[in-house]
């Protein structure tokens, strides 16, 4: 082994530039790999860990206290399928303010005007435990504990005082702690059990919240069956709402899954590109060193030892790269981990994951070793005498070429021919560029798709939402809003879950009261509903694959409702329908949220202040922020841009390396051409032309590859998100102009990679190379 190491290390020292190239590309790829691995491990398990550590429930059910007693709810613990319960806890929906600012809470894609305040004296227990991560648990009246994510999101600190609205006495509560549990929703808070009723807004219903674990709860269908038993055990309509651990897990995993999908795709691309470049380097080294290989074999190196010399040359920089790439990957993954942890209200996990820190470099090293071993195998099989005699590999038949078109300057046609003078090397380099271009196409497509997504799902034409508390009537709310001269249109809305008979999951529905067609939701197909029992279908969540023209039956408030789907729109709810449809099954129902369209030129903030001042305790107006609330694009965007840069750098280094090898190999030809009168500028043009051809080939192949990758990942993202839209929706998002720019970028990367080898070639000394003295 010693002679192998001696020779390999001597070659590493001799080929410092080549070693540096391998070091840089390996470091980039392993950094991306370590980042992906860390995120994969640390973001796929925390929910399960939290669920296990905090004894998370399979189902949290909310019971309407007007329809069921606390004892009746507690009695459900004895149902056959129930293995453990916690609660019931009395709960109220309470609006809060801090320092005059209304504290909203994020829930799914929208803001919620209230916090669900639960009366709970003990955070422990055998099920649905809470972990106090800051401060302490409540000890009596006047104290409240909030979720950690709410505290972070609304800048509420332990010790702050917040005011409960909706009651005449406006209780002032001190935040004494921040807690986390297995529920990722931040819109919850806990107080001593005896004070919930005093916080409950006037006329608003109280509820009971109970947590369950069931004997069988692995699928949504299982949960649905358990829920059916639960509903059967209490008076009809008593179960007002519920959430399963599967919802929590999906909600948590959604963003991370998207990021991971992209990241893992990039890891594969980066590692692939590195393998291609390493194979290219070793191929070049073998071709250029036939004589030396022959000598090695002549003095007694076995074929395996010859292969080992080349593999070790690649492993030395790769191992050095691991030393910096693993910590770099950990550092790069930290912001994403922190964000993911914040989403689930857990302390951020460590970015140092031993298994990743060992496995990723090991995999990277293995790929590099394999990529080096394949071309090195050729060296191992060379006949010693032939190798010494030949000196370097003969050029194949594909490399013989004509001087080219006379109209194209000779240096360009010669350079173009040089691109594939070594077909394998040229091909491998083109593949490296292909990967870079495909990444750019994908990144460009994704960015355009996000813009189009934002455009399609942009907020319709209303500027303010107003929520009212139960103590304040629908009539009074309308009167306050109508009184404002800037009000143009008021549409009352009610969100509900429509049960689909025979299906495990209900679908989200929105009921509109008023001239909702004027809200300007973007229609994908058909028309807006015009009368009772007509519905518009959202294109995003269409789990049962309904179509325009189809008649469907859903249950709303336990009553069957026949709906005819008349159109589809770019909306996040599944079914949108007119109030008249809902009124048939709930004649006394009134909206509690209102969408307000303002007259053109109205100052939205001033309007919000006006409405708030008109009824500060019971009405909560909010200006609508622009955009879709779909905020993951910023992370994806930054990540895609960074990774595209990394892959671009890898591709550029690939070209650099290839041209370096080619220039060294062709140094004699370059010297001859210079002796014949080729100027340094023409030599530069010749080498650059070679890079240009490689860039062009890579770009032309990379564009369809990138589009394919883009479509695949967009569809994968839609599947993960449970969206019913596909990449077809965004096909037109890929701008041909962008594609042209990306193709040019591919060529540009190749040309950048050619700068140094071209300059070195131009400076070739004819006298020295041709040994003219």
């Amino acid at each position: 082994m010693r002679p192998v190491l001696t020779k390999a290390f001597a070659d590493v020292r001799r080929h410092r530039l080549q070693t540096l190239v391998v070091f840089v590309i390996a470091a980039l790829a392993i950094t991306v790999g370590a980042m992906g691995g860390t995120l994969l491990v640390q973001t796929s398990s925390p929910y399960d860990h939290a669920f296990a550590d905090l004894a998370g429930p399979h189902l949290v059910a909310v019971f309407d206290a007007r329809k069921v007693t606390s004892n009746q709810v507690a009695a459900t613990a004895g149902l056959a399928g129930v293995t453990a319960t916690a609660g019931p806890w009395v709960a109220a929906e309470v609006p809060f303010e801090k320092g005059g600012t209304h504290l909203t809470a994020t829930a799914s894609f929208s803001q919620k005007a209230t916090l669900t305040v639960l009366g709970r004296d003990d955070p422990g227990g055998s099920l649905d435990r809470l972990e106090v991560v800051s401060g302490r648990w409540v000890r009596g009246p006047g104290e409240i504990v909030v979720t950690r994510s709410f505290a972070i999101g609304r800048a509420v600190l332990v010790g702050d005082r917040i005011t409960a609205l909706g009651t005449s006495d406006k209780s002032l509560l001190t935040v004494v702690g921040e807690a986390v549990d297995a529920n990722p929703n931040p819109d919850r808070a806990w107080v001593a059990s005896g004070i919930v009723a005093s916080l409950n807004p006037v006329d608003a219903p109280l509820s009971y919240v109970m947590a369950y674990r069931f004997r069988v709860a692995t699928s949504r269908a299982d949960i649905r069956a358990d829920l059916n038993d639960l509903e059967a055990a209490v008076p009809a309509g008593a179960v007002a709402n519920y959430a399963s651990y599967l919802d929590f897990r999906d909600s948590y995993n959604f963003n991370n899954s998207l990021i991971l999908t992209f990241l893992l795709a990039f890891v594969v691309l980066a590692v692939g590109a590195v393998a291609v470049i390493v194979a290219n380097v070793v191929t070049g080294a073998v071709l250029a060193n036939y004589r030396e290989i022959g000598i090695l074999k002549a003095i007694g190196f076995t074929p395996g030892q010859v292969v080992a010399v080349f593999v070790i040359q690649m492993l030395v920089p790769a191992l050095a790269a691991c030393l910096i790439a693993v910590p770099l990957g950990a550092i790069a993954s930290k912001p994403l981990l922190d964000q993911a942890a914040e989403a689930i209200s857990l302390p951020p996990p460590s970015p140092l994951v031993p298994i990743v820190d060992v496995l990723v470099p090991a995999l990277g090293i293995s790929v590099i070793a394999a990529a080096a071993a394949l071309p090195a195998w050729r060296a191992g099989r060379l006949n010693a005498v032939d190798a010494i005699t030949t000196g370097t590999a003969p050029l194949g038949r594909y490399t013989k070429r004509r001087v080219g078109w006379w109209r194209v300057p000779g240096q360009l046609s010669l350079g173009a021919g040089d691109a594939f003078a070594r077909p394998v090397r040229g091909g491998l380099t083109a593949v490296a560029i292909l990967v870079g271009v495909a990444t750019l196409v994908f990144a460009s497509g994704l960015y355009s798709a996000i813009l189009k997504f934002n455009d399609l799902f942009a907020q319709p034409n209303f500027q303010v939402t107003v929520s009212r508390l139960g103590g304040y009537s629908d009539l009074d709310t309308n009167e306050v809003l109508q009184r404002q001269p800037e009000t143009n249109l008021i549409v009352g809305v009610h969100q509900l879950a429509a049960v689909v008979p025979g299906q495990p999951d209900p679908v989200p529905g929105t009921i509109f009261r008023g001239r909702s067609q004027q809200l300007g939701y973007r229609l994908a197909e058909g028309r807006w509903f015009a009368k009772s029992n007509e519905a518009v279908l959202g294109v995003v969540f269409n789990p049962y694959h309904w179509r325009v023209g189809q008649e469907v039956v859903v249950r709303i408030d336990t009553e069957p409702v026949h709906l005819r789907i008349v159109g589809t729109c770019y909306c996040f709810w599944t079914l949108g329908m007119d109030w008249s449809t809902y009124a048939a099954v709930a004649p006394n129902a009134k909206p509690i949220d209102y969408l307000v369209q303002l007259r053109p030129g109205t100052n939205v903030d001033a309007y919000v202040r006006q409405v708030s001042a008109a009824q500060p305790d019971f009405l909560f107006p909010q200006a609508i922020s622009s955009g879709t609330g779909f905020n993951i694009e910023a992370i994806l965007d930054a990540m895609v841009a960074a990774l595209a840069l990394i892959l671009g750098a890898i591709a550029g280094l690939g070209v650099f390396n290839t041209l370096l090898l080619t220039t060294r190999e062709r140094v004699r030809d370059i010297a001859i051409l210079k002796a014949l009168g080729m100027t340094p500028g023409q030599v530069t043009a010749m080498v650059t032309a070679s890079a240009g051809v490689l860039g062009l080939v890579g770009a032309l192949l990379g564009i369809p590859a990138g589009i394919g990758l883009y479509r695949y990942l967009i569809d994968a993202m839609a599947r993960l998100a449970g969206f019913s839209i596909s990449s077809d929706t965004f096909t037109s998002a890929i701008d041909p102009g962008h594609l042209l720019l990306v193709a040019l970028a591919g060529v540009l990367v190749a040309l950048l990679g050619a700068i140094l080898p071209a300059r070195w070639a131009a400076r070739t000394s004819v006298v020295n190379v041709l040994n003219l003295e």
Binding site: Q411, D669, L676, G677, P680, Q682, V767
Partner: protein
């Protein structure tokens, strides 16, 4: 290395630069070709002072005025014989059709017209040197520089190459030949310049039969 060397070579002369290895023969040719620059002094070819030219201007000068024939031929192995000749014309920006005709003509004259489509690896040493000569002549250079053109050839083939150069000279081509073979140079050239350790030691004229006529 050359030291204190001053000489003038007239148009149409066939001059041999003689001397042992390291005497400065190739350096002199390199200076004339603009491949090397003198540390002091001047080199003027056809009225052009090479010292004042940039690298690019020197390259253009070489294309237009110099034809170089190397000891080891230095052909481009991945170009055919025809394209090896043609590429020099293309570099100089000559007209395509005329260059193609001239390339084939030169190859025919040099007796390797039938090999035009072959690649250098298939040719013998003598044939390769003929290709190199054709390449050197394609742009009708003012001077042909031949650096040990027979050094890599057997004696018969070497003689043939020298006869080709003589024939060229007889048609008015100025030729500067570097060689260490005094007999060969004496037989074929009309002027012999001898160098030793970079200094001019002798400048003589011959009768073409190896006999010195003036000193």
């Amino acid at each position: 290395m050359l030291d204190d060397l001053s000489l003038q070579i007239g148009e149409g002369e066939f001059t041999a630069i003689m001397g042992p290895s390291g005497s400065g023969k190739s350096t002199l040719l390199n200076l004339v070709a603009g491949l090397d620059r003198p540390t002091s002094g001047t080199v003027t070819v056809g009225g052009t002072a090479l010292a004042s030219l940039s690298e690019a201007e020197l390259a253009r000068f070489r294309r237009a005025s110099i034809g170089f024939v190397f000891q080891f031929f230095h052909l481009l192995n991945n170009l055919s014989v025809f394209d090896n000749v043609l590429i020099a014309a293309q570099l100089s920006g000559a007209q395509e059709a005329a260059s193609r005709v001239r390339a084939q003509q030169l190859l025919n004259e040099l007796g390797i017209g039938a090999k035009a489509r072959d690649y250098p690896v298939k040719l013998s040493g003598g044939e390769r040197q003929r290709v190199a000569i054709a390449r050197a002549l394609i742009n009708r250079p003012a001077v042909v520089l031949a650096d040990e053109p027979t050094g890599a050839l057997d004696s018969n083939t070497g003689e043939q190459v020298m006869e080709l150069l003589v024939a060229l000279n007889q048609r008015g081509q100025t030729i500067l030949l570097a060689s260490h073979d005094l007999q060969l140079a004496g037989r074929y050239t009309r002027r012999i310049i001898s160098l030793r350790d970079g200094k001019l030691t002798r400048d003589s004229r011959t009768d073409g039969q190896g006999q010195e006529v003036t000193q």
